[in-house]
């Protein structure tokens, strides 16, 4: 049976792509963020997940406003990294975990989540950067299932709905008949705002409370509407919805394997957590 072995949540700032490309991990500006990853590398080496289910948001690569799904899942055999216009070098493509992806897709739709299904899929930095942070040699030892949440066009799916979709993904994984160790990734956030007169807004207090809630009160943030989240975490802080999807997949308690938080990376309060089901 498939089993969730961990949840890894992290920020996915585009400038990280450049920093990785230029090997700036030890540069004083970047070091506080990259230093969060050696403990995660050790854990990956020990636990060896087979499949990543990555909950993230596309920023105008696979989807444009001509067709903007609220929730989408990639069942493609190959997930392709390519030019996304932000100047981030592309990465080797990622093998899709097709059997699990189709199983989750079928299960979610039967569970009332109306997924858009992608049999071809381009993946942008929100998907690729967490992978490159976990496996810096970019030789992917896992297959992947991308789950995409709209954070582009408001209204966004509510935090409550995102958490519930995570729960449904968790049920789907638990009912997958093949043996597989699954790592769930939540990509995005935490507080940041790129646009408007309030650009540069960061809310450390909220972020720390949110990170605590991932462990001690997972549904805490589901009380907030999309606009509440903009107010409290900045326009792009809403990407924490991906963390809620990821956290929802584990019904019981979790323990913290690793947690780090640093302000700022680019305009972002950069946070990373690795959680293990208890």
């Amino acid at each position: 049976m498939a089993k969730i072995v961990g949840i890894m949540t992290t920020s996915h700032v585009p400038a990280l792509g450049r920093a990785i490309h230029l090997n700036l991990q030890q540069d004083p500006y970047w070091k506080p963020f990259f230093d969060g990853f050696p403990p995660i590398h050790e854990w990956l080496e020990r636990v060896k997940p087979d499949i990543v289910v990555s909950c993230y948001n596309d920023h105008g690569l696979n989807f444009f406003l001509d067709k903007q799904p609220t929730f989408a899942i990639g069942t493609a055999p190959e997930l392709i990294s390519t030019d996304e216009g932000w100047g981030i070098p592309s990465m080797p493509s990622f093998p899709g975990a097709e059997d699990l992806a189709w199983h989750i897709r079928d299960s979610l739709i039967r569970d009332d989540f109306d997924m858009l299904t992608c049999q071809e899929m381009l993946v942008d930095h929100a998907f690729t950067l967490p992978m490159a942070l976990m496996w810096p040699d970019q030789k992917w030892p896992v297959k992947s299932v991308p789950v995409c949440v709209n954070t582009v066009l408001f209204p966004l799916p509510s935090a409550r709905r995102c958490f519930k979709m995570g729960e449904a993904i968790g049920r789907a994984i638990a009912s997958f008949p093949e043996d597989a160790k699954v790592l769930v990734v939540g990509s995005g956030g935490l507080s940041h705002q790129l646009e408007g007169e309030r650009a540069g807004f960061i809310n450390k207090e909220f972020d720390l409370k949110f990170m605590d809630s991932m462990v001690n009160d997972p549904q805490w943030a589901t009380q907030f509407s999309d606009l509440d989240l903009v107010e409290k975490t900045g326009n792009e802080g809403v990407e924490l919805l991906n963390w809620l999807v990821a956290r929802g997949t584990v019904p019981g308690p979790v323990k913290v394997v690793h947690s780090s938080f640093h302000i700022p990376i680019s305009n972002t309060a950069a946070a990373t957590m690795l959680l293990e089901p208890v």
């Binding site: 216009g85 932000w86 408007g196 680019s266």
Partner: protein, 117 residues
């Protein structure tokens, strides 16, 4: 059409249905910057490229004057504008932040650092 009053958050423009309708041509042009050939074509003649995508005068003016807040007012979504700023104009997010807040880039960066204290 009478519509309910929208909730607004000071300094935080929301990319909602109205913005998506207003900005479709502009955002579609920015989406095209996923390709280097298109970025190069834009650089070789900005106004001609804008017209090819059907941008209106206000949108073209916001492009040519690098008016970031103006681009948002005419319907630009930040994830699309980011492709213009980063991929075409070579600006980073602190440049963009400084342009919108009237700060120097160093002041804007200092504000980010201060948020961590």
């Amino acid at each position: 059409m009478n519509r309910p009053q929208k909730r607004t958050i000071p300094g935080a423009p929301i990319f909602d249905s109205d913005a998506a309708r207003r900005g479709y041509a502009l955002n579609k042009m920015c989406y095209s910057f996923n390709s280097k050939a298109n970025r190069d074509e834009f650089v070789s003649d900005e106004v001609a490229y804008c017209k090819k995508f059907g941008l209106d005068e206000a949108q073209i003016k916001a492009i040519t004057t690098r008016d970031v807040l103006g681009l948002i007012r005419v319907g630009g979504g930040v994830y699309f504008l980011g492709k213009l700023a980063g991929g075409v104009l070579g600006l980073d997010m602190q440049d963009i932040g400084a342009l919108q807040t009237g700060m120097t880039k160093d002041e804007f960066k200092a504000k980010l650092v201060a948020a961590g204290h």
